[in-house]
């Protein structure tokens, strides 16, 4: 259920409008065209994500994807979380995820697989699309800038992670280091082994005691 505030602000509608526009725009630029959608005409896939208070219904009609957020009759419904949805990229994990109760599928699974196939085969030549609009040189410059920003972002992200780890582990002692954790795990293992040994010795003594009692 959506919260009353989220409903008043029509968060679901704003999100679906943006996502629908992005998907259809991406399909327009897809090098494989929109032919893959024909097989799914008038089919609906519903995705219920634990993080969202509303369902996402992907319907295909006239080679376009329409996204609604109400309650509709769906050909296939996936109930899962965003994290599991990412794991679903590896289709071999499907059975495992269902067994682990991380994913629930209701309806025709082939519909979901076909939608996934469309997403996987999406192939867009962003550079040539951009070059058509702004020209080759600005596109090249933007590409270079993008690469440089990505590098800087990656470096900054690694730096932030390292600093945060340093602060949490060594300065504030809020989290244990991985070495400490493995040392602790090793100690626990040793204690378990010792307990097992003692248990075996106790069992042996009990057996000896019982035998002695029987002989007497």
């Amino acid at each position: 259920m959506q919260s009353p505030l989220s409903q008043q602000l029509m968060f679901a509608q704003a999100l679906s409008a943006v996502v629908e526009t992005l998907i259809n725009q991406a399909l327009v630029y897809n090098l494989h065209g929109t032919r893959a959608l024909i097989a799914l005409n008038e089919k609906t896939l519903t995705v219920k994500l634990a993080e969202l208070g509303f369902p996402l219904n992907f319907s295909i009609n006239a080679e376009k994807i329409h996204l609604t957020t109400g309650i509709v009759q769906s050909d296939c419904t996936l109930t899962t979380s965003i994290k599991t949805l990412i794991e679903l990229k590896n289709q071999q994990k499907l059975t495992e995820l269902i067994k682990q109760d991380k994913l629930d599928i209701d309806g025709d699974i082939k519909i979901a697989q076909r939608f996934a196939a469309i997403a996987e085969t999406l192939d867009i030549d962003w550079r040539s699309e951009l070059a058509k609009r702004i020209g080759d040189i600005p596109t090249y410059k933007i590409g270079q800038l993008g690469k440089s920003l990505a590098k800087k972002f990656s470096f900054a992200s690694e730096q932030i992670q390292a600093d945060a780890t340093e602060w949490l582990v060594h300065e504030k002692n809020m989290v244990v280091a991985s070495g400490e954790l493995s040392n602790f795990a090793q100690q626990v293992e040793q204690v378990t082994e010792q307990v097992d040994e003692v248990s075996q010795r106790v069992n042996k003594l009990i057996t000896q005691q019982n035998n002695k009692a029987n002989r007497e």
């Binding site: 409903q7 008043q8 602000l9 029509m10 679901a12 509608q13 704003a14 679906s16 409008a17 005409n41 008038e42 609906t44 319907s59 009609n61 006239a62 376009k64 329409h66 609604t68 957020t69 109400g70 309650i71 509709v72 009759q73």
Partner: protein, 263 residues
């Protein structure tokens, strides 16, 4: 200036006279309202979409999307988009009902209907849409025809709203639903005051500037204040025969979506 509540109360007294109704804040003969409303929409039809985006800052698109989401429409359904104007809801419904379904875009105003038809044809939406010039009070369809009926920002312009609701009930299939998207009464007084200021001071000037027609947008602001509030409209729908009627306030009650079923 009268408050919106006073004006509504005043309107109810005026409505007690069977031959008169309101046109904005004016009391007019019932026969006169239709032609006056027609005049407003003939005048604004060409700039209607631009003005909607400007006046609502684009939020009308989300209100309409909310209506689509609440409709539960599915392939094969028959939908009546009443007072459909320039066809925003029809466009989306047409894509959701598919080849087997049908959408009727109905409007009493020929100018609005023409603008809507041109717009939808330009977008390539032709296969499952029909256009009908119709008065909501006397719908020219057989009983039990539609799975879904929507009327977005149209009911307040209808001369006899009760009669129109009964007419919609008649043409709706059992199990079908009516969705009324309409301006309503804001829930909080601060929003109400800000909204009043915006409607009566800024809106007509915007209309004058963009559509060269300040009077029509003055009427728009007045007609919104004269429209029944959320609870009143809900009870009107109940009186017309609808069941499980409910409403949801959007943007603090500036707009409300009423929903009712025919069983």
């Amino acid at each position: 200036m009268m408050s919106a509540h006073d004006q509504n109360h005043h309107s109810n007294n005026a409505n007690s006279d069977e031959n008169t109704t309101h046109f904005g804040f004016q009391t007019v003969d019932k026969n006169e309202k239709e032609s006056k409303v027609a005049g407003v929409f003939h005048s604004v039809a060409q700039q209607y979409d631009v003005m909607n985006d400007l006046m609502s800052f684009g939020v009308h698109r989300l209100w309409k999307r909310f209506t689509i989401d609440a409709s539960g429409v599915r392939p094969g359904n028959k939908v009546l988009d009443l007072a459909g104007g320039t066809g925003d809801l029809t466009a989306k419904f047409s894509q959701l009902v598919g080849r087997e379904g049908k959408v009727i875009l109905a409007d009493i105003n020929s100018s609005m209907l023409n603008v809507g038809r041109d717009k939808l044809r330009d977008r390539g939406l032709v296969q499952n849409i029909e256009y009908v010039q119709a008065n909501a009070q006397y719908l020219p369809f057989e009983d039990n025809t539609f799975d879904v009926i929507t009327i977005a920002f149209g009911l307040r312009n209808v001369t006899d709203k009760d009669m129109a609701l009964r007419s919609m009930y008649r043409v709706l299939k059992p199990g079908g639903r009516l969705l009324v998207l309409e301006f309503s009464k804001p829930e909080h007084e601060i929003v109400n005051k800000a909204y009043d200021f915006y409607s009566f001071n800024i809106l007509p000037k915007m209309g004058e500037l963009v559509a060269k027609d300040g009077d029509s947008y003055q009427y728009l602001a007045e007609s919104i204040r004269m429209h029944p509030d959320q609870e009143t409209l809900k009870s009107m729908m109940n009186d017309a025969g609808f069941e499980q009627t409910s409403y949801k306030n959007l943007t603090g009650g500036v707009v409300a979506l009423h929903k009712g079923y025919k069983f």
